[in-house]
């Protein structure tokens, strides 16, 4: 165990898996120059064949990762910023997500496509996307969205070892946060298993990616008001640990879904729908989404920052749904 940052957890996961399995290699734009610190020392340790700088050609190199996976390699693609997945939608959705299926199981696609959620720092709309829910609507892709260093390492290792294609969405608001991280080479967190980050009894807050940390801060604030909030982190969006969410909501009777993505068809929307559909009889108030509104993200920080889920918005939502219930006559 050591306290390391989320970025260092990514570095460790990649390094350990590349050392463990020669079929793992990494490619992406400028991975050798190590822009964000996740490939420190890789060229020296693994050589330039396994640490490949690509042309600025996302559809090309992400599709090539699919081709390499089909012939027995286990590529990690560092697509850097998640907005850059859009040029590669063709290969991600038509080739990588569907080849196992459309060829009746003949194709295998063990690959990981990593990208960061690069929002909240005045990068304007074209660099600030949180697009995981677009891919949740495409069968055949597993999706991880870790909120802390330990989960990041364990889930990325699971993703690299998985025989299914996995998209790793890495929240830049978590990058520098340190946490205790295992140095066990087999510190692997199974895909599809959520985690209770804080226990509580009055309401459940389900957080997505960095939304988990906002939810934890809100839960502390609510505790000061005597409201006990449970915080659930699904960690993996596909498969989604619906049962863990439902168990918590059946206990608390109230739910807030916190997601930094835009509201419509967000992961929060899917979680809210799941709760309403399967735990309706346990609900004591409306299920609320705290998300980013359906507008683009502006450059100017004065108008960008208030768009994201915040402690204040979550606390307001909690007061509202608890108040709404109290307002109902007995």
């Amino acid at each position: 165990m050591a306290r390391v940052t989320y970025l260092e957890a990514i570095h460790q996961a990649q390094k350990e898996e590349m050392a463990r399995d020669k079929s793992v290699f990494i490619m992406g734009e400028d991975v050798r120059c190590n822009v964000f610190g996740t490939t420190t020392g890789f060229v020296d340790q693994f050589g330039e064949e396994r640490v490949r700088d690509t042309p600025i050609s996302e559809n090309g190199f992400i599709g090539a990762a699919g081709g390499a996976a089909m012939v027995g390699m286990r590529p990690i693609v560092d697509a850097t910023i998640s907005s850059f997945l859009f040029p590669a939608m063709d290969q991600i959705c038509s080739i990588i997500a569907k080849s196992r299926y459309i060829y009746g199981g003949q194709a295998r696609l063990p690959l990981v496509i990593r990208s960061c959620l690069f929002y909240g720092n005045s990068n304007a709309a074209q660099h600030s996307d949180r697009p995981y829910s677009m891919f949740m609507n495409m069968p055949g892709l597993k999706i991880i969205a870790p909120s802390n260093a330990s989960d990041m390492k364990g889930l990325l290792k699971a993703a690299i070892r998985s025989d299914d294609p996995v998209l790793s969405f890495e929240d830049s608001t978590c990058w520098m946060a340190k946490g205790e991280v295992s140095d066990d080479v087999d510190h692997v967190i199974p895909l599809g298993k959520g985690d209770i980050k804080r226990e509580g009894s009055d309401l459940t807050i389900i957080g997505v990616a960095g939304g988990v940390n906002v939810a934890l801060n809100a839960a502390k604030k609510l505790a000061e008001e005597g409201i006990s909030a449970e915080v659930i982190d699904p960690r993996t969006l596909v498969p989604l640990d619906r049962e863990l969410i439902l168990q918590s909501v059946r206990k608390t009777g109230r739910a807030i879904c916190v997601d930094p993505a835009h509201m419509t068809c967000s992961a929060a929307s899917e979680i809210a729908a799941t709760i309403v559909e399967h735990a309706f009889d346990a609900l004591r108030g409306p299920v609320v989404r705290v998300t980013t509104p359906d507008t683009h993200l502006p450059f100017s920080p004065h108008i960008e920052k208030p768009l994201y889920p915040s402690v204040e918005r979550i606390v307001d939502a909690a007061r509202r749904i608890i108040g709404a219930e109290r307002a109902v006559p007995a």
């Binding site: 196992r100 459309i102 025989d163």
Partner: protein
């Protein structure tokens, strides 16, 4: 050379072209009778392009193809039974009834998919070539694409990647003169797709796509170059599809000019058969091949007809490694 032994490679080219032609003729007939669901994009007229290219490959070399997918797997040596069963949507189909006519792809023969998103095979082939290189294998990856696909960014990205990394890849543009209804000269800038090779610093070769020997020679040279670590080649086979974009679409989509008859007169199988006979192969031996293939096709169709449709759970398999559960509200009505 006048030998006509069973393994005579000259006869194998004839056999594979004839197998494609007869397989598709049968498929077209039963499609018209309603036995094959969905679309059927035929390859007739282009057999020399596929067979000439694939005969230059080893069984363990990789190949990526297109929605016009009947020709490539047969050219690469696939057996007919699972291909015909796939057309009929049966569980014994090569894709278990989940791919159909646009995706006949036999991975046991080195195929990595026949993809129906035009141009999308380019990056896949580059990646397979990269995989082979990283594994220290001397395999090559061949990407078939059409003149229409030459306008897609994915093809450019695949070729650029293969060229910049000097990957063992061969890009074969089968220029059949039309993208659905649009003539190539209305959609593709420049006189030849192969000319674009110059921009990547790789060889660009134009070859008569109706001449199986010419295609084989061009691809063989490209394969040798690729195996030697000298990088990719772009080959353009000038060819022609006899049929419409797809069969039984209700009306003709592809406009036919006076050159249509000239192309049909240069039928690749007729040209090759004549060459074989002139080289001393007995007509009777070639007739015997035709007849044996008719039996193979009939056997494949019988096999397909005798096979079962997939059970409903198959719709939920192969999304991931682990089969998905069938939602209860769906299974109740399946």
């Amino acid at each position: 050379m006048t030998t006509t032994g069973e393994n005579d490679p000259r006869l194998e080219k004839y056999r594979r072209m004839q197998r494609i032609r007869q397989f598709e003729a049968k498929a077209e007939a039963i499609h018209a009778a309603g036995e094959i669901p969905g679309a059927l994009h035929t390859y007739a007229g282009m057999e020399a392009s596929g067979v000439g290219a694939c005969i230059a490959l080893r069984d363990d070399d990789y190949m990526v193809g297109t929605h016009r997918s009947h020709g490539h797997p047969i050219a690469k040596g696939a057996k007919l039974r699972p291909l015909m069963a796939e057309l009929l949507g049966k569980v014994t189909g090569i894709c278990k009834g989940k791919g159909g006519s646009m995706h006949l792809s036999d991975f046991s023969m080195g195929s990595l998919g026949e993809t129906s998103i035009v141009g999308s095979g380019g990056p896949v082939a580059a990646g397979a070539a990269l995989g082979a290189k990283l594994q220290g294998l001397d395999r090559v990856a061949l990407c078939f694409f059409g003149d229409g696909a030459s306008s897609e960014g994915a093809i450019h990205e695949g070729m650029n990647l293969a060229a910049v990394w000097s990957l063992p890849a061969i890009f074969v543009c089968e220029n059949n003169r039309f993208g659905m209804s649009t003539p190539t000269d209305k959609a593709v800038a420049g006189a030849n797709v192969a000319d674009r090779a110059h921009g990547y610093g790789i060889p660009g070769v134009i070859v008569d796509g109706q001449d199986v020997d010419a295609v084989e020679a061009a691809v063989r040279e490209a394969v040798d170059r690729a195996r030697a670590g000298k990088g990719p080649t772009l080959i353009e086979t000038k060819t022609y599809r006899y049929g419409d974009h797809a069969v039984n679409m209700g009306r003709e989509l592809t406009p036919r000019g006076p050159e249509h008859d000239d192309w049909v007169a240069r039928d690749p199988i007729t040209i090759y058969r004549k060459r074989l006979v002139e080289a001393g192969v007995a007509d009777a031996d070639l007739d015997a091949i035709d007849s044996a293939i008719a039996d193979e096709v009939a056997d494949a169709l019988q096999f397909a007809r005798d096979s079962d449709y997939p059970v409903f759970a198959e719709a939920f398999d192969h999304v991931f490694v682990d089969r998905l559960p069938i939602p209860a509200d769906v299974s109740a009505h399946a």
